[in-house]
Symmetry: C2
Subunit: 471 residues, 2 copies
């Protein structure tokens, strides 16, 4: 008899499946204030691992971490016209401190361009101070009408990078470098999610930017998720905050700036790109627990053997967890580790041990194999690499098979019901076509060039629009 | 001719010296909203290193990281009477979100006991769920009348740990474990600051705790700085949030809880415990840059040699920075690295190289030595350990020589003008004596037992009070 599913099946109701995974794998819970989120131990362990991978790449790209205040005086936001227009409807406002009304209201940062520029204007004096590259890990708040854990929350955790450069070219190069070397590399090689890098349409760009670039991933239901953005701010903020420097030639110029960020949203991407009806499937490069050693029963030395195996794997650099809670049923524990998406499970039971063997279970395929005790850590290390590749390959196959090249707006709309459409930006009718698509909940996810480079302008006539429904 | 000092000398004006160091070493700056702080690159690098050391020890103590929302509904704070009384005057209040007035006002967390307990009450059902140990890295806000960078800021970064236990004994043991194995160990072995662990008087304990324990360090001017606290919360929060569990015996009981935290204040401790008239002196175990390789002039291969030396040291696990900005004067760069307190400086110049040598400078003592090129990385590694020991020894000597054992309240008050007094808690007159001391700005920093253990009660008659002026 088939057991009742722990989760709503994906095919039945994908959004409900998502909610079930978040709850049952104990990733997060709703906070008491509208749209806020409690990130639980396992959810946070995923985020911490991801943070570490991103942070290393951000530092390699030359940015240093800093911390700017949570509260921004309201007047700062108003200085850049597009910026305030974009963010005003989403702000959370602080009116009182220490029991008294503040002289000037403050907002909880929705992003930090304004407050950071007010310091950049002091720190940047000469071309010798450039490039200036900083990054901040922290919380931000933006009002959300329809909150969803990890995907859209009023408060979220993220990193925001902010840089100043001596030339437009240098700034543009850095925007692209972050998009490719930091965000795309982490998405593909850590999260195992293939992404489409591209440029946002003017309609979708960041409030205050000249150009926004993004990476878009395809989720299990064929919908798009924006997984990271990188903005070319030109001199917009530098001009209103007077961030000027003396050039090598002895002139004065405003700094050329960028900003870029990814957030806890990426945990939503992880869930939806790899999850199946049994729960999460975490790629080994990300997994806080890569291998669980599950003691079936503590008989005939299975408990002791489990401990030894854990130690062996741990010494070989595998992130391992020993589960010897034999007072809880084996089935329940196995189901729980499946829910949490731990890539490899090793079952240590008296029956196998009698034959000098163990049972090895792959989370991605569900395959079980009896294996000898000898040479275990090499086998596990190899299998982890194999699973990492397999999860990426599976997601790549979905992206390929569910992206349709089309020639008309109607066909693009149709293709977007199950995946992405790739259509000439001109054939779509550019902004006018974008507006028409929006009526049926379909958006232009990004604009690409046929040569794979990122479009620095919209002037070319061979641009391609990637169209889809999105989270 | 003596050059003009970059910093106000400590002996002339210690608080001003502190401000100068924070500004000149580019550690932090004031934020635009009252009492907030911008932590700059080097200041944040110090904090990140400290975070890493603390985080590892916290995890070893069995706590997992989580994230709870920034905003707490006002009503949550009101549930625990002592807690709201303690924190109400310091709260920052959010009244609007998304342009509309909130149904219930929210406060920016001053600490998270209340919101965390509202989830603990759901998560804790049985003794099998205990102990439950979580930790959170984040920002909190408390109104400050007299803000001071790192030491007292309206917003600060910290970690707050929160745990539930099945028995009072288990909770108490954990409070002490955190104080000793995490906080004391980090203070002594990473920050190089000897601390006095003890118990806070009832007057100084955390709002809502049964007992608060702390570690107190002595700064360069003889004043005390509370460097970390760990609270025995009893069942106070569990009762008001109904955090109950079924015991092994089948009864129901409220969880026994602890909370504990350290903050960016520790950067203030670092500055004031080790700094001298030339700036910071960072202990090598903490230092983001342990050794700077300073190319004096790029002549006779000095630049190339500097690069090779950096690579050699880096490969040997030393955190090294190459400074080959030879277009800036050598003196200015040397002064800057002194300001930043980098423990070891290696000067690579053509004159030394001609003799197959380098110049090695210790930041802590200022000693310079010409050393051979051979065997450099071992010499540097050894010297780093030596400096770590020397800085701790120096701080220990200060603590010892400036702590006076006295027998009367008047003598305690007198001794507190230059350091600490140790006086019998009874001889001081207990709470009444504490109140009298407060009139001259002197406080009881902590209560200790003569056997070195932490006092679980105030009933003993041989308790010792450590008395001093404090930050």
């Amino acid at each position: 008899m088939a057991k009742a599913p722990v989760l709503t099946p994906q095919g039945e109701d994908f959004p409900r499946w998502y909610q079930d995974v978040v709850a049952k794998a104990e990733l997060a819970d709703n906070g008491p204030v509208r749209g806020t989120m409690v990130i639980r131990q396992y959810g946070f362990a995923l985020w911490e691992r991801l943070q570490g991978e991103l942070d290393r790449r951000i530092k390699e790209a030359g940015a240093d971490n800093v911390y700017f205040p949570l509260l921004i005086p309201e007047s700062y936001l108003r200085k850049e016209a597009d910026h305030v227009e974009g963010f005003a409807p989403e702000l959370w406002t602080v009116t009182h401190g220490g029991g008294k009304e503040l002289e000037e209201k403050a907002v909880i940062r929705p992003t930090s361009e304004t407050i950071i520029n007010s310091y950049f204007s002091k720190w940047v004096q000469s071309y010798r101070d450039l490039p200036l590259r900083v990054n901040q890990w922290g919380n931000v708040m933006r009002w959300e009408l329809r909150p969803r854990l990890f995907l859209r929350t009023s408060e979220f955790l993220w990193q925001e990078g902010h840089t100043c450069h001596a030339s437009e070219d240098d700034a543009r190069e850095y925007v692209i470098r972050i998009l490719l070397d930091v965000y795309t590399d982490t998405a593909v090689n850590v999260l195992g999610i293939p992404v489409l890098p591209g440029r946002k349409t003017d309609n979708e760009k960041f409030a205050g930017a000249n150009a926004s670039y993004c990476i878009e991933g395809m989720m299990g239901d064929g919908k798009a998720l924006q997984m990271g953005t990188s903005h070319d701010l030109g001199q917009n903020f530098a001009k209103v905050f007077d961030t000027q420097f003396s050039t090598e030639a002895g002139d004065r110029d405003y700094a050329w700036q960028t900003s870029w960020g990814v957030s806890t949203r990426l945990i939503g991407a992880l869930i939806m790109a790899h999850g199946d009806d049994n729960g999460l499937r975490v790629p080994p490069h990300l997994a806080p627990i890569q291998c669980v050693v599950l003691v079936v029963k503590d008989e005939e030395g299975a408990g002791e053997r489990g401990r030894l195996i854990s130690e062996e794997l741990s010494a070989a650099g595998v992130r391992v967890e020993l589960d010897d809670r034999v007072d809880t049923s084996f089935g329940r524990r196995a189901t729980d580790w499946e829910l949490k998406g731990v890539p490899v499970r090793i079952e240590v039971g008296p029956r196998d041990l009698r034959e000098g063997a163990l049972t090895l279970v792959r989370r991605d395929t569900g395959e079980k194999a009896q294996i000898p005790l000898d040479g275990l850590h090499r086998r596990v290390s190899d299998l982890l690499e194999e699973i990492q590749r397999a999860l990426l390959a599976e997601a790549e196959e979905r992206l390929r098979s569910r992206t349709e090249t089309v020639a008309t707006l109607d066909d693009a709309r149709e293709a977007a019901q199950t995946g992405f459409a790739a259509i000439g930006w001109d054939a779509l009718g550019r902004d006018a076509g974008e507006t028409m698509l929006a009526e049926s909940g379909v958006t232009v996810r990004c604009i690409q060039r046929p040569d794979g480079k990122l479009p620095l302008s919209f002037d070319d006539d061979d641009l391609i629009a990637i169209v889809g429904r999105a989270y």
